[in-house]
Point group: C2
Chain length 300, copies 2
């Protein structure tokens, strides 16, 4: 199960209601962040998420509202005697993480490892992978090098008991063996999982970071369970740096995602419901992100 907590859903300037961008993701024993705006360590505390378990932080781009919380979070991890290394993935990660390490008076006593993520072209890159899931990035279209991130759980094959029955197989240890090994010998015949199975798709979640409407985002969002998209402004105010709510909905519709969350909402909108309504005219299953909103996604 993937647990998503929105830690900050505002944009460049925070408001009473919305902190700067950051999203916590937890999947089994892995805990990571997408972006880390100013104040993220305190938002984690308020959300009762243990920041000492975070091993990987993925920054979409180096505008301060998306990264300034790194400074405090790294130094707090240091004060709390973090031992495991922390990986920071980003476009130009080596350059900017090195600047952050040199700031003010402190000396890290744990490893901080920057990982550069490609920010040119239109291809997906797997930037981190476990047996269970992968984190992929793809360049997007902002005023500075920027990427979107995608969490993709592994697709698995499951056994269709009816199909298996045709081979004389019944629910039991042999079915478990078949799922695990991919094939078994049964009554002198080889039975392969693909002969009696069907694909159970893994969860897919995409986070746009800041971007103008762009095709790479459409590409990486294809059939996602959840698309978390920049919708800083309503259509009438959309500007040269960001996507408007309506265009975010167009992406969601065209990519055939299951659900759209609008985030990075400008502080201009004390009541951002008009953004949601604008998007819903194009894509019905749209919600507004709120600070501390939680979502749990399970493989269907």
């Amino acid at each position: 199960m993937l647990e998503i907590t929105f830690l900050g859903t505002g944009s460049g300037i925070p408001s009473r209601r919305r902190n700067h961008p950051a999203i916590s993701l937890r999947y089994e024993d892995e805990s990571f962040l997408w972006d880390c705006g100013e104040g993220t360590q305190r938002q984690l505390t308020l959300a009762k998420i243990n920041f000492m378990h975070i091993k990987r932080i993925f920054i979409t781009h180096w505008h301060a509202d998306h990264w300034a919380g790194l400074i405090g979070l790294l130094q707090t991890m240091n004060l709390e005697k973090k031992k495991d290394p922390l990986y920071i993935y980003a476009p130009e990660a080596e350059r900017f993480v090195s600047d952050i390490m040199d700031l003010g008076y402190w000396g890290p006593r744990f490893q901080i490892i920057p990982v550069n993520v490609p920010f040119e072209g239109d291809e997906e890159t797997v930037v981190y992978k476990t047996k269970e899931f992968a984190i992929k990035s793809i360049p997007v279209n902002h005023t500075v090098p920027a990427v979107a991130y995608c969490f993709k759980e592994r697709d698995v094959m499951n056994v269709d008991i009816k199909k298996a029955g045709k081979h004389g197989l019944r629910q039991g240890p042999l079915i478990g063996k078949l799922k695990k090994r991919g094939s078994i010998e049964f009554k002198g015949k080889k039975i392969r999982l693909e002969d009696v199975g069907f694909v159970k798709k893994g969860i897919k979640v995409v986070y746009s970071g800041d971007t103008r409407k762009c095709n790479t985002l459409l590409k990486i969002s294809k059939d996602a369970d959840l698309l978390i998209h920049d919708a800083t402004f309503a259509e009438e105010f959309k500007n040269r740096m960001h996507t408007g709510a309506k265009d975010a909905a167009k992406i969601a519709k065209e990519a055939k995602v299951k659900k759209l969350v609008l985030t990075h909402l400008s502080r201009r909108y004390q009541d951002p419901k008009p953004l949601r309504e604008e998007a819903r005219k194009v894509f019905k299953n749209t919600v507004l992100a709120e600070d501390f909103m939680k979502m749990e996604l399970k493989r269907q």
Copy 2:
């Protein structure tokens, strides 16, 4: 009148209740900060203080909990089209402000002027002065270059109406003229303000920043109306970097201040009342700082 708002009263690691250090001071049309920990721009918003009016920020030292909020605050001022210059006073201000300016992608469109504050020796320095008040600094004793700041309103002479009466002067325009000019001619005699006046002391407020118990702080705190002092820990936990609550109270007592506020409270103390009680045994008029606590000080 000086209006003080505590924006953050925690220490290195924020808690649900306490953000990182920052204090807002407003005196007539001057608005400034003492320290600017992570999240200060949002604390200002929550406290309904307009950050666009801030012209001067005084940093005590370059540990991140005291300065990391500068990054976001400067960039927000930039987004909001700040025009006036912003002065940042600190030990080694030029070095560290220059590092901050180079971070991430942004280009300031207003002037940011670092002002180095002496951090060696044991003398007070006037770092900023108006007709009405001065901000002074003095080196304190921390693990890195660090200073305390003092707000000192100008002492003024007022007329003692009884004394003035002996010279035949009565309440009226001539008294106003005497106060303004310092002397007047009356019935052929020169009357000087000091002959018929008395001193009305200006408000004095001192903020220690982070420090071990030290004599320079005692010196600059002499007869202050308010001493805001580092009291990270109780006596039993006081460490090599900070003052304990009891020692802060000793300073307050010896300096004969009117009131002591304990701040920079460790997140160890969910209930910090024992710190207050420990201090009150030495210095009775002690209170604990709380986020968003306000104090108004007027010349008596």
